[in-house]
Amino acid sequence: MSGSTVDLSAAAKTPGTRSSSQPGAPRRRHSGRVRWWVYGILILAALGSAFPLYWMFVVSSTSTAAATQLPPRVIPGGNFFHMVGVVFSTVPFARSILNSIVIAVAIGGGQAVLCALAGFAFAKLRFRGRNVLFLVVLLTMTVPAQLSIIPQYMIISAFNWVDTLQGVIFPGLASAFGIFWMRQHLASTMDDDLMGSARIDGANSWQIFWRIAFPIVRPAAFVLGLLGFVSSWNDFLWPFIVLKSPENYTVQIAIQALQKSYTVNLGLAMAGSFLATLPLLVVFFFVGRRLVAGIMDGAFKG
């Protein structure tokens, strides 16, 4: 669900000219110094963005009773590592992190490669049915994921993939948004002359793809992979339906399993949620700049 929202909002983009979007490039609209209140508002926005994560940490570091005390507690307590221990002993959390990594890497990487290849064909090669096929892709981009769950489940069962990681991975690979994204990038960034001269040199389309097209779109493919990684890491409904055994849980399912049916344990739920987000935060720390640049690069520009 979050996934579909991601896809659709991100679908709003065609790559534009790349000249203007280098983050940090000097642009001088206002001359003079930035006012203090601009920083004030931006700092507030940054705090607001991080607040729920901080709140998860606060609640998971206090006792259950403290989670509902008035006035609410806003300073972390010393209980966090105890809670982490409980998380790891209640569900196979380490295993579920591994599963999530496998799934998210496979989906992110798979989308990047598959969509780059197909996007290349749509952008730069001529074949019968090209426009029709592309239109079909665009139309299905708008369909809510919940709609097809039942038949999808039947198919997964037919392959005997219920309760397997591939049952989550394969349906996630075919991203309509991804193919759209890659096609637009290739159409606008790869010069047709470049292809023409390669053809004359005797290169076939396979060689052109790997030697010319892929290097050009690699940054875009990387960002596409990142987006796929994030949305499959956070996906809940489909893995919940497909995966049944604790050893196959993803982190999102593991968090759910932490919450016992008739007992409310906010601290435990929040600790699980925090731990489930932590790996993404680490990834984000290293590639956040590229993600920001990629989203802005892919932005729609008239």
Binding site: M1, S9, G32, R33, V34, Y39, P72, V230
Partner: protein, 314 residues
């Protein structure tokens, strides 16, 4: 969809001049084949099958009877369907309008030259995007808890009465809209920022020479230049908004599938899910899905019309 449909018209001219060998002629199909194989099996077939199911009274563990379009005529007179449609619409309005305005403002601030820590601010705005919806829902439900929530505590501090947020219609939808805004405002800000950066500086300079002030510049240069991307974010948030599911499912657990005892925040996809998986009425659930699909296509069509007009006006 704007871009998508309009860009079809300007698909790049393919290179056909050089005579292609036989394997070369089939190469494009080989490149799209892996994608379309997966797409057909896990995307297209399930979708088509949903249409089939919608023509049946389909109990997944019982009988399946063909009923033609009965499910659809029931749908038209089903108050719960219209309730869900209304809720979806109002959550969409409450989440989209403020989101776009806030994003525009933030983008404007981030666009300032000589802004220090610009990358830090940009990255921090993306944190909500990487936080899972499930985790966010738990946090928001707790913040807005009637008796022990932070929000009500602050309200009573400043002399207000505590609000039973999740029980009320507007108030529960407000909480959901807030989650959506929080999650997407940073992403939208980056899109607008990128649009702002492509507006040539000379336009502002010329306007300044003509004596146009800051607000005038904003309304006569910034907004018109961003118009395509603004329309775009409206469209995409509409499509995303029509599908909103996890937020209402997880924020109001009593009872979850109806998003409250009075169905006060039940959205269309949640109603679909309730009918199909809560009540085992797969046929009816599929019919709701088809109705949703029609709405989405209608919006895409409106979008297409809008974008053509926009193009024509230039």
């Amino acid at each position: 969809m704007t871009v998508t449909t309009s860009s079809l018209a300007r698909l790049p001219r393919p290179l056909g001049r050089i005579r292609e060998s036989i394997p070369e002629r089939f190469a494009p199909y080989a490149y799209v084949a892996p994608f379309f194989l997966l797409f057909a099996v896990f995307g297209l077939f399930p979708l088509a099958f949903t249409f089939v199911i919608s023509l049946f009274e389909w109990n997944p563990i019982g009988t399946k009877t063909f009923v033609g379009f009965d499910n659809f005529s029931t749908l038209l007179t089903d108050p719960r369907f219209w309730n869900a449609a209304g809720n979806t619409l109002s959550i969409w309005v409450m989440s989209t309008v403020p989101q776009l305005i806030i994003a525009l403002g933030l983008a404007h601030l981030l666009h300032a030259a000589r802004l220090r820590f610009a990358n830090f601010f940009r990255m921090s705005l993306l944190i909500p995007y990487i936080t899972s919806v499930a985790a966010t829902a738990i946090v928001f439900a707790q913040l807005f808890d009637t008796h022990y929530g932070l929000v009500n505590w602050v309200l009573t501090l400043i002399g207000g009465d505590p609000v039973n947020w999740l029980a009320g219609r507007l108030s529960s939808q407000f909480v959901i809209a807030l989650m959506v805004i929080w999650r997407w405002v940073g992403y939208t800000t980056l899109l607008y920022l990128s649009g702002l950066q492509s507006i040539p500086r000379e336009m502002y300079e010329a306007a300044s020479v003509d004596g146009a002030g800051g607000w005038r510049q904003f309304t006569s240069i910034t907004v018109p230049s961003l118009r395509p991307i603004i329309i775009f974010t409206v469209i995409t948030s509409t499509i995303g908004g029509l599908q909103i599911f996890t937020e209402p499912l997880l924020v109001n657990p009593t009872p979850a599938l109806t998003c409250g005892a009075a169905r006060q925040c039940q959205t269309l996809t949640l109603y679909l899910y309730e009918q199909a998986f809560g009540d085992y009425k797969f046929g009816y659930g599929a019919a709701i899905g088809v109705a949703l699909f029609v709405m989405v296509v209608a919006i895409a069509a409106i979008n297409f019309a809008l974008s053509t007009r926009l193009k024509g006006s230039h």
